[in-house]
Structure formats: structure tokens, C-alpha cells
């Protein structure tokens, strides 16, 4: 039977779902809850302090992205930013064409609006990804038609960590526009999973729109932003006051905006070091899993340049993810799964399916996403129990491998 731990250690390995708020971010935010609580639109001193805080945050973020402050639109989440990017472009440009290019492995915040548009006269091309989850630049370019108004492709995937060649796609889109003497298609990327580890320079990425949010980079939840290149017009989704240059109404969430700027600053400052540290951890973990557990597969790109350094997505053949997850939870280990059994629709992860993975393999997938708090000791703790959990569930499973 399963070993009982002397002491249960809480190990959080679901940083792709959300991260805790960093102490330094929290201290930066604190004054704006109770003391400097003013509405940035107000003219008296209290309002101006809040206004200054928002302005400073906007400048800081613009600097980090190599953009101008007026290119930054604050929103309520990554999902809202994705919606604003897609639907905002559509509302302003649909008379020019009704075709969009994207990937089947996108986040639901991209897929749902696209599905909705598809029901309303739009055509959407989902460029297939390879078995490793990566898209071919040429295939994206080939999918562009004269009536394509938007290409939207995520920078890095939340489930299996594939990093798409965003800069290369951007360059090709620039070439396409030049060759065809057009301003279309616009180029959007959801970079929510990228902010901790990758370069966000919009000039290098050639993006016209880019989504970021706070909750994946040790910032607060409930805040996001959309980078919007000068000259690209969008229509707002939320109408009301004139905030964000009338592109997103609603009183600014001042503490969250301040927190978002601080979080992005810290993330970008530490990204090289933290990436190297986490890549070593995930590589170590994967090596140990292979040593200790038979019949396992790595899902997504090989560990290296094309994979987020904090992501490890592994299929344990012949068993089911929710069951693994619940057993691991008893040991204090928190991760996630692409299994059909945990999903609302009883369908396995759309990402793993889009990579051509059969049902049973998605069933047994576990995603571990590492972060600041994780160390090698965590991995050694997990390795004390994970092999036993897998072995017990395999003994209970009617799909047996040859050797046991």
C-alpha cells in the first residue's frame, strides 16, 4: 500500500494556473487600498496621487516592453485582454475581411471568441501544430488570405509549454503586408505564460497587440493589459467613462495596476536566472521520473529552448489523471491534469488533442509547473511518493503493460 509520510510538505506545482503575489509586489500595492484610494479621474490631490501611480505604472510597463505609454491598455484580466484584442479588431475592421488565423491549442479566452465569430460569418483557420505542439512559421503564412484581418497565436502554451516562434511569424507578417501593400493582417499574441521567462520586446516580436496578466507573474489577480501598437485601431468592449483613452471604461484598479507593473519589472529582471534555475529543476525531475517509473512520456517539446523552463507535462500510461491528482494531494503535492475526467465536458485537454494525442494518453497526463518557491528538495520529496502512487493505480488498472 501507499507509504505514509512523516510530515506532509505542501508543494505547489501549478504556477501555470496562478502564482502567489510576491512580497515586493504586495508592498508596492498596499498604499493604494486604504490611504491613496482616490479615483484617478478626480481633480483634487488624492485623485492626482492615484493618477500619478497609474501613469508611472504605465510608463514602467511601456519601458519594459519597448513601447510607448499610450500603447498600454489596462484591463481586468488576461481573458479580457484577449477578448478586447480579437473582438476589438473585428469590430473596427470587419468590413475589410472576415478571416482570422489562429491555433487549436490557444487558451479558451481566444478560442471562445473565435468560435463565436465563426457562428457569425467569420472564417477561422486553425493552423495545425506538430506532435511537439510547435507551429511551423511557413504554415502560418500560408494560411493568410487577402481577407485575413488578424493572426492570433499564443507566445507560450500553458499546458505543455511550447514556445511558438513569435518573432519569426511577426517578421513574415511584415513581409506579407509589404508585398501585398496592405496593413492587414494585424498580429496578436497572448503572452500570459511568457512574462516570467521570455523576451517581451514588442519591437523584436513585431506584434501589434499583446496580452499580459498579473496572476501568472506573481502579481495580483484581476488585472491584465493589452499592448496596442500605434496606428492600430480597435473598438472598445466596455463602454462608459473615458478611461484608457476610451478603449476600456471603468475606474482604474489602481493597486492592481501598480502591482502589475512591479510584477512585470521583477519578472523581466530575473528572467534569465530564474529560467536557468527552473530548467535545471524540470530536467532533473524528468530524468528521475524516467529512472523510477516505466511507461512515461514527455508531452510537448523536448526540454530546451522551445519549452517553457518551468513546465513538465508527463503521461503515465494506463492510469487516469484525476485519480493521481487526488492521491498526490494527500501528500501535499499540487498539480493538474489534462484528463477527460476532470473536465466539464468529459473531453480531454483540447491542447493535447490538437497535438494528435490519443484519448488514453491525455487521460494519464499530469502537468507540473514550477515557480519561485520550488527547490530540488521538493522534487526529492515528490519522488518518494509519485512512483508508489503510479504503481498502485497501475495495479488497479485493467490496461496493463507487459512488464510489472
Amino acid at each position: 500500500m501507499l507509504p505514509k509520510p512523516k510530515k506532509i510538505k505542501k508543494i505547489y506545482l501549478d504556477h501555470a494556473a496562478t502564482t502567489p503575489v510576491d512580497e515586493r509586489v504586495f508592498s508596492a500595492m498596499k498604499p493604494y487600498f486604504m490611504k491613496e484610494f482616490g479615483n484617478p479621474s478626480a481633480l483634487y490631490n488624492l485623485g492626482r496621487t492615484a493618477q500619478t501611480a497609474v501613469t508611472e505604472a504605465r510608463k514602467k510597463i511601456a519601458g519594459l516592453l519597448h513601447a510607448l505609454p499610450e500603447n498600454i491598455i489596462f484591463t481586468g484580466s488576461g481573458s479580457e485582454s484577449d477578448n478586447l484584442a480579437i473582438l476589438g479588431v473585428v469590430k473596427a475592421h470587419q468590413h475589410k475581411g472576415k478571416h482570422i488565423v489562429s491555433l487549436g491549442i490557444e487558451h479558451h479566452a481566444v478560442l471562445r471568441p473565435l468560435e463565436d465569430l465563426a457562428k457569425n460569418g467569420f472564417a477561422v483557420t486553425y493552423v495545425p501544430v506538430g506532435k511537439d505542439g510547435l507551429v511551423d512559421v511557413e504554415a502560418v503564412v500560408k494560411a493568410i488570405r487577402p481577407e485575413t484581418i488578424l493572426v492570433t497565436i499564443m507566445y507560450a502554451n500553458n499546458e505543455m509549454g511550447a514556445i511558438q516562434p513569435i518573432a519569426e511569424i511577426g517578421r513574415e507578417i511584415l513581409k506579407y503586408r509589404k508585398a501585398h501593400n496592405t496593413i492587414y493582417p494585424f498580429w496578436h499574441s497572448d503572452a500570459c505564460q511568457a512574462s516570467e521567462y521570455l523576451d517581451l520586446d514588442v519591437e523584436k516580436l513585431h506584434v501589434d497587440l499583446m496580452t499580459l496578466n498579473g496572476s501568472k507573474m506573481y502579481g495580483p489577480k484581476g488585472v491584465g493589459m493589452l499592448y496596442l501598437r500605434r496606428g492600430v485601431s480597435i473598438k472598445p468592449l466596455i463602454l462608459g467613462g473615458g478611461q484608457e483613452k476610451s478603449r476600456r471604461a471603468g475606474t482604474e484598479n489602481v493597486p492592481a495596476i501598480v502591482g502589475l507593473a512591479k510584477a512585470l519589472e521583477l519578472a523581466q529582471k530575473d528572467k534569465a536566472k530564474e529560467s536557468a534555475r527552473l530548467r535545471e529543476l524540470t530536467a532533473y525531475f524528468w530524468k528521475k521520473i524516467q529512472e523510477k517509473i516505466p511507461d512515461v512520456r514527455l508531452n510537448g517539446p523536448a526540454i530546451g529552448e522551445s519549452r517553457l523552463p518551468n513546465n513538465l507535462n508527463v503521461t503515465f500510461m494506463n492510469i487516469e489523471g484525476e485519480a493521481m491528482l487526488l492521491y498526490l494531494d494527500e501528500y501535499g503535492i499540487m498539480c493538474s491534469t489534462g484528463s477527460a475526467c476532470t473536465s466539464e465536458s468529459l473531453e480531454p485537454s483540447h491542447v493535447l488533442r490538437a497535438m494528435g494525442m490519443p484519448f488514453e494518453m491525455a487521460h494519464g497526463s499530469l502537468r507540473f509547473t514550477f515557480g519561485h518557491s520550488n527547490t530540488r528538495a521538493d522534487i526529492d520529496y515528490i519522488l518518494k511518493y509519485l512512483p508508489a502512487v503510479v504503481a498502485q493505480l497501475r495495479e488497479m488498472s485493467p490496461m496493463q503493460s507487459q512488464k510489472h
Binding site: 501507499l2 494506463n318 492510469i319 487516469e320 484525476e322 485519480a323 491528482l325 487526488l326 492521491y327 494531494d329 494527500e330 484528463s339 477527460a340 475526467c341 476532470t342 473536465s343 466539464e344 468529459l346 473531453e347 480531454p348 484519448f359 488514453e360 487521460h363 495495479e395 488497479m396 488498472s397 485493467p398 490496461m399 510489472h404
Partner: protein
């Protein structure tokens, strides 16, 4: 969740993608963490059985095998073993079912055939709606294994065949399809269509489909 009425809930909390919580009762947890009667590796060769059934659930790709040791004189289930490929609810459901058929000297086959998913669920202290289909697997495996016994003992008349009946010829929808759809939460004809990814049914078929939805809904949810 109607299945959890009057239950003090102190249990594992697993959330679906849409944020609704799945609460497992203590009994589910207990069986999940200490499953009874599953086929251990070292028993594979030793365990004597005279009936076996294997079923798969099209709902989420889960599978179950059941081995029964039936006393031919009394027709009581003296012992059983199982293996399940599925979630926490599926494992707990199978475990509880294996306990039910074995207790008090073993259940008679005729009584075992009367076990419904609802009985399994009651013993478990309820399952979240989305997990009801997991308890059906155990019930079906039991039926398959008992049928196997009847076949082995040449009692062909006693074999229960729940053959699929085609309800809508154009769309090729069977009663099984509808049953599965209801178990996965379909409540209206539109839900069923969405589940099965088919178009709109002809009026004649529509009525029959709606009736079956009501039937299965009552069978499993009330």
C-alpha cells in the same frame, strides 16, 4: 446537488474548469484511498473465478474488468476482484460495489442483477452530478460478468441483453446514446444533439427521444 442532501461534507474538493466544485463524500474518499477487493498482481494466477466481465464507458474512455466467484449451488457471489481505469469516483464506485455483492455471505445473482447505479451512489453518500456516469460502469460490469456466468453454465435464457435500439434512423441515435448523454448531464433534446454532434431530429423521432430523456433522467437523477 441533490445527491448530497443531508450530508456533512468534509472532503476532497476538486474543481471543474468552470469553477463549480466537486465534493466527494467521506465514503468516496475512504474507498478511493483504501480500495477493497481489487485484483492485486500476486493474486492474478491464484484467484479462482467462474465469471468475468469487461466494459468500457464511452463517456470519458474509462474501462473496468470484474471477476466473480459464484457458488453454483446457491448462486451466491462468494468473492470478487476488479480493476478500473478511471477517476476517483470510478474507483470508489467499483470498490463499494464489490463490497455490496460480497457481504453477508454473498449476494444471490438475481439480487445482484437488481443493483442500480443509484444503489451504489447511495452507499457512497452521493456523487457529484458530473460523476454519476462513473458509478454506471460498475453496474454494467456486474451485469456483464453475470451474463458471462449464464453463458458458461448454458443458461442462455437468463442472459439479459440490453441491446441498443435505434430511436432515430436518420441520425442513427440509439437508446444507449441517449442514456449516455443524459448521464453526462444532457437535459433537453438540444443538449443531446450537442453531445452526439448531430443535427435536428424529425418530429416523430423527437418525441421518442424526449421521452427517453425523461426516462433516463428519472432513472438516474430522482
Amino acid at each position: 446537488m441533490k445527491t448530497q442532501k443531508n450530508k456533512k461534507i468534509k472532503s476532497a474538493d476538486v474543481r471543474g474548469q468552470k469553477g463549480e466544485s466537486w465534493l466527494y463524500s467521506d465514503v468516496v474518499k475512504e474507498h478511493f484511498f483504501n480500495p477493497r477487493n481489487f485484483m492485486h498482481y500476486d493474486e492474478e494466477k491464484k484467484f479462482k473465478f467462474n465469471a468475468t466481465g469487461r466494459v468500457g464507458s464511452p463517456a470519458c474512455g474509462d474501462e473496468m474488468v470484474l471477476w466473480l466467484k459464484i457458488d453454483p449451488k446457491t448462486e451466491k457471489i462468494k468473492d470478487c476482484r476488479w480493476r478500473t481505469f478511471g477517476c476517483g469516483s470510478a474507483i470508489a464506485s467499483t470498490s463499494v460495489m464489490s463490497e455490496m455483492v460480497k457481504e453477508k455471505g454473498g449476494m444471490k445473482l438475481d439480487d445482484a442483477l437488481k443493483i442500480t447505479p443509484n444503489d451504489i451512489m447511495k452507499r457512497l453518500g452521493g456523487l457529484p452530478d458530473r460523476k454519476i456516469h462513473c458509478s454506471v460502469l460498475g453496474d454494467k460490469a456486474l451485469q456483464a460478468a453475470i451474463n458471462d456466468y449464464f453463458r458458461q453454465t448454458k443458461q442462455h435464457k437468463r442472459i439479459i441483453t440490453a441491446g441498443a435500439k435505434v430511436i432515430d434512423k436518420d441520425l442513427n441515435i440509439t437508446d444507449h446514446d441517449i442514456e449516455e448523454a443524459v448521464l453526462e448531464g444532457a437535459h433537453t433534446i438540444e443538449d443531446v444533439q450537442k453531445r452526439l454532434k448531430v443535427g435536428v431530429a424529425k418530429p416523430e423521432a423527437k418525441e421518442a427521444i424526449e421521452e427517453l430523456i425523461r426516462f433516463y433522467w428519472e432513472k438516474y437523477f430522482s
